[in-house]
């Protein structure tokens, strides 16, 4: 696609950062979808890793076209989400969070120990197939879709579940079904982010999808808020840009994330963008 020279130059210089902003925006949305039904998942990084590894293997080992690789690497994490969600989502409480942490650690062990998946060194030489337009087009699409869903009966049901599970049930809302649907949607979004990330950075490794990135993704939504789909994306952008601004402290990145989570929970329980969306379409 044609673009102005200055924009081309800018993207060339800051390509990694610009791509990371878009991909982290998708990850923030995948967190948002789960939090929107009052659930806590720490599996976003694991779902992202599944998308990344599936897509990399399909591209590197089987030479499949990206048009097939991308949707397929959304479906793979969705199937894992289904396997985890069905037994845990009928229970309320932290079962989903625990199960998703477990999934992340199990998958990390698998990536490290399976030679075919590159072992501890990871997979490199993944061709760059995700460009600016693809990443930001899909991010925009996801934001618009979630916005439209939020302003409908589905969004009302989701907010009702988050506010009062029992009252929501008495409204005739099938709480377990909505929670499973949200988890599947979040796995799709995370898988998409993983595949885009793998085909933009050309390298993936087992430690990129462990517990630490899971907490980072959670902090996107905690900082930005979950009032609208824009809020977690804003949180992701701030937390992605912060280490660039504070480049000298980059080893302290996790400390900053931790401090931000604590401050956000204490002083900004609704996040930075504490705007609530109207829940009706007429």
């Amino acid at each position: 696609m044609d673009m102005p020279v200055w924009l081309d130059d800018f993207l060339w210089t800051y390509q990694n950062l610009v791509h990371a902003l878009g991909i982290n925006g998708l990850l923030a949305l995948s967190m948002y979808v789960v939090l929107a039904v009052g659930q806590l998942s720490l599996g976003q990084a694991a779902f992202m890793g599944l998308g990344a590894y599936f897509s990399a293997v399909m591209t590197l080992k089987f030479g499949l076209p990206f048009a097939i690789v991308l949707p397929a690497s959304c479906i793979a994490p969705m199937l894992f989400a289904l396997a985890i969600g069905v037994p845990t989502l009928r229970l309320s409480g932290v079962y989903l969070a625990i199960a998703t942490i477990g999934l992340g650690e199990v998958l990390r062990a698998v990536y490290i120990n399976v030679e075919w998946l590159g072992g501890a060194l990871g997979l490199s030489g993944i061709p760059e197939r995700a460009d600016f337009w693809m990443i930001y087009g899909l991010l925009a699409l996801a934001i618009v879709a979630l916005w439209l869903i939020g302003r409908s009966g589905i969004g009302r049901a989701m907010e009702a579940i988050r506010e009062d599970e029992t009252a929501a049930q008495v409204m005739g809302i099938d709480v377990a079904r909505y929670r499973l649907g949200a988890l599947l949607a979040s796995a799709v979004l995370a898988g998409l982010a993983g595949a885009l990330g793998a085909h933009s950075s050309s390298f993936i490794g087992p430690n990129e999808y462990g517990f630490e990135p899971a907490v980072t993704i959670l902090s996107f939504a905690l900082l930005g808020g979950i009032g609208t789909p824009f809020a977690p994306v804003l949180g992701a952008w701030i937390l992605t840009l912060l280490p660039e601004v504070l480049r000298g402290f980059s080893d302290m990145r996790l400390v900053f994330n931790g401090v931000i989570i604590v401050l956000a929970v204490l002083f900004l329980p609704q996040g930075l963008l504490a705007v609530r969306m109207r829940r009706r379409a007429a």
């Binding site: 869903i149 009966g153 907010e159 009062d164 009252a167 008495v170 409204m171 809302i173 829940r279 009706r280």
Partner: protein, 267 residues
């Protein structure tokens, strides 16, 4: 005539305590049916068993002859059972109108794809839901507050909103858990009018209430529970004179003395 709502041998045990003990209750269509009894008699547990929030140890719940016992609460709502809570449980962050729209969930049909594509069918449905919600808000006198954040409503308004939300899908039976609790006499009087209007709309009302004046005023049938057992079912006037009811509320000695006095004063 077979009852609209029926419980058969309904029992709930909590670690050795029989909260509800083989209750056979029949609620007839187009009545206001009150469920009374001293504190801890099992009224709220019975409500939770009927609405599906508590699983019975034994027995069954039937609505229009259909066995609901195995169905979760949301399926029961879809089949025409609605309820309010003793402690108000509206969605505080939503607007008043959005609360009622959420209550209309069983009337929604639009799927995910239609929602995202904003199909004409989706738009039509959403418009119809808003129209319906406004009708229900009008019934409880909250039309002017439609866009207000629900948490900002006064206590009495929140009670009425909760009733509107439950009434939105046009249920066959409405369970009201202590609707008059915390209300002043004027609000209680308005509530009596509202319950009569609800019955007039073809919704049968089953209510738990401690305000005996309210119960006597409004109900066609009274069921009395004590220690989880059904001890009386009949007219409100009958409940007033039934020795077992007096005994449950006042204790054996006082009840006997009252009965004695009644015998002496009557010609």
């Amino acid at each position: 005539m077979s009852a609209l709502l029926e419980t058969r041998g309904l029992t709930r045990r909590f670690a050795g305590l029989l909260a509800v003990d083989s209750v056979d209750m029949a609620v007839q269509a187009d009545t206001v049916h009150a469920l009374i009894g001293p504190n801890g008699a099992g009224k709220t547990t019975l409500f939770n068993l009927i609405s599906g929030l508590t699983v019975p140890s034994q027995g069954s719940v039937l609505l229009q002859g259909r066995d609901l016992t195995a169905l979760p609460a949301d399926r029961r709502t879809a089949l025409g059972l609605a309820r309010t809570f003793q402690s108000i449980r509206i969605f505080g962050a939503m607007s008043v109108l959005e609360n009622v729209l959420t209550g209309l969930h069983p009337r929604r049909a639009a799927g995910l794809v239609a929602t995202v594509l904003r199909t004409p069918g989706f738009r039509r449905e959403e418009r119809a839901l808003v129209e319906r919600a406004l009708v229900v808000l009008d019934m409880v006198g909250l039309t002017a507050r439609a866009e207000e954040r629900a948490a900002n409503l006064s206590y009495g308004e929140q009670r009425r909103l909760e009733i509107a939300r439950a009434m939105a899908p046009g249920p066959a039976v409405l369970l009201l858990d202590e609707p008059a609790a915390g209300m002043n006499p004027a609000e209680t009087a308005a509530l009596i009018g509202l319950v009569r209007r609800i019955r007039g709309l073809g919704t049968t009302v089953l209510l738990v209430e401690h305000d005996i004046g309210f119960v006597m005023d409004i109900s066609d049938v009274v069921t009395v529970l004590n220690f989880g057992r059904l001890i009386f079912q009949g007219t409100p006037a009958g409940a007033r004179q039934a020795p077992e009811v007096l005994e449950a509320y006042l204790g054996q000695k006082v009840a006997a003395r009252l009965a004695e006095r009644a015998r002496r004063t009557q010609p």
